[in-house]
């Protein structure tokens, strides 16, 4: 067991840059949650129980906008669907891990830690993947909770922090995450479809427009993929 600790520490160390990158967002989440009317304990509970940054941010605007519970749940589900791909990618590696560890690994699966474990698997193979991954995820998890609490408790005491336009931080982050993917025609079309429907449908109650827009974007992508495949088949001599 003792020999595993340095490996877990290596996992935590390799996660540090990403943890630093998400720290401002944890603080902003805590601050915005309290500004949206949540008690600080609810902000921390959400970070500790749900542990999904983008879904947590969106839930704030949904809760603040009086969205129905099923809409909040369904939106969370749709936003986090990408984690199914990570889960599928890690499954062959995790096949022999004891069940409790697989449950914990799944609970702690995030975009960031997935990126870290992926890099490790490519450079060092599957040896000691479990302690490495647990070190990475435990560190990332505690960091997220800690800074959520700081934001929730201290954020509102800093005068003007809410008025600074922290709501823009989330929009900027999402825009910066999407933009690099818009280099070929299919994702551009997906974004155009999702963006237009989101605008046209935004007066709908309970933020239903968001779900419609996501569906429109994915449908556009599927259609274009299908057409591309057909063209590829027809081009074959």
């Amino acid at each position: 067991m003792q020999t595993k600790i340095p490996i877990a520490l290596a996992g935590a160390r390799d996660t540090l840059p990403l943890a630093i990158g998400t720290t401002p967002f944890a603080i902003i989440f805590g601050t915005l949650a309290v500004a949206a009317g949540l008690p600080p304990i609810a902000a921390v509970a959400m970070s500790a129980i749900v542990f999904a940054g983008s879904a947590q941010f969106i839930s704030l605007s949904l809760i603040g906008g009086g969205a129905a519970l099923p809409v909040i749940w369904l939106t969370t589900f749709v936003i986090n669907l990408r984690h199914a791909l990570y889960s599928a990618t890690l499954q062959p590696v995790a096949r022999d891990w004891p069940l409790p560890w697989r449950v914990l690994s799944a609970f702690w699966l995030t975009d960031e830690c997935f990126a870290v474990i992926e890099r490790r698997l490519q450079t060092a193979g599957e040896a000691d993947a479990l302690p490495y991954y647990l070190g990475s995820t435990l560190f990332f998890y505690l960091n997220w909770i800690l800074w959520t609490a700081v934001g929730a408790l201290v954020g509102h005491q800093i005068p003007g922090l809410a008025a600074l336009g922290l709501d823009f931080a989330m929009i900027a982050t999402f825009a910066a995450m999407v933009a690099p993917q818009l280099k070929t025609s299919t994702p551009v079309a997906v974004a155009l479809a999702a963006g237009s429907v989101a605008w046209l449908a935004h007066p709908l109650p309970y933020k239903l427009g968001l779900l419609l827009a996501a569906l429109a974007g994915v449908a556009t992508g599927v259609m274009l993929d299908y057409r591309q495949r057909r063209v590829a088949v027809e081009d074959r001599p």
Binding site: G21, A175, V178
Partner: protein, 106 residues
């Protein structure tokens, strides 16, 4: 803390955990059909764009395509920098500065 809030959080936990556990915990035999995997690949772009666009072009619900809309200008700046450089954090920091400056000016 209200019951509704707890219900929201627990439901969000269930939705998130089910997805994360899909293959890791339950899915030793589970396989997505390739068509589903390809469809899922479009989810991040679709969802994130759907969140950003209304907030950028109509902050507070009022459509504003003018250069004096700091949300719109800031979003475009963030997108352009990230598109060019691929650096998320740089894009966020610079666009936040532009956003703040524009809000202070207008």
């Amino acid at each position: 803390m209200s019951d509704t809030l707890w219900a929201a959080i627990l439901g969000m936990f269930a939705a998130t955990f089910l997805i994360r556990a899909s293959f890791l915990v339950f899915g030793q035999k589970l396989r997505f059909p390739p068509a589903v995997v390809q469809a899922l690949a479009h989810v991040p772009v679709a969802v994130l764009t759907a969140i950003v666009v209304p907030e950028a072009i109509a902050p507070g619900g009022q459509l504003s395509l003018a250069l004096t809309n700091p949300y719109l200008v800031g979003t475009v700046v963030a997108g352009l920098i990230a598109w060019k450089s691929g650096r998320t954090l740089t894009a966020v920091i610079i666009s936040f500065a532009v956003f703040g400056l524009l809000r202070w000016l207008t």
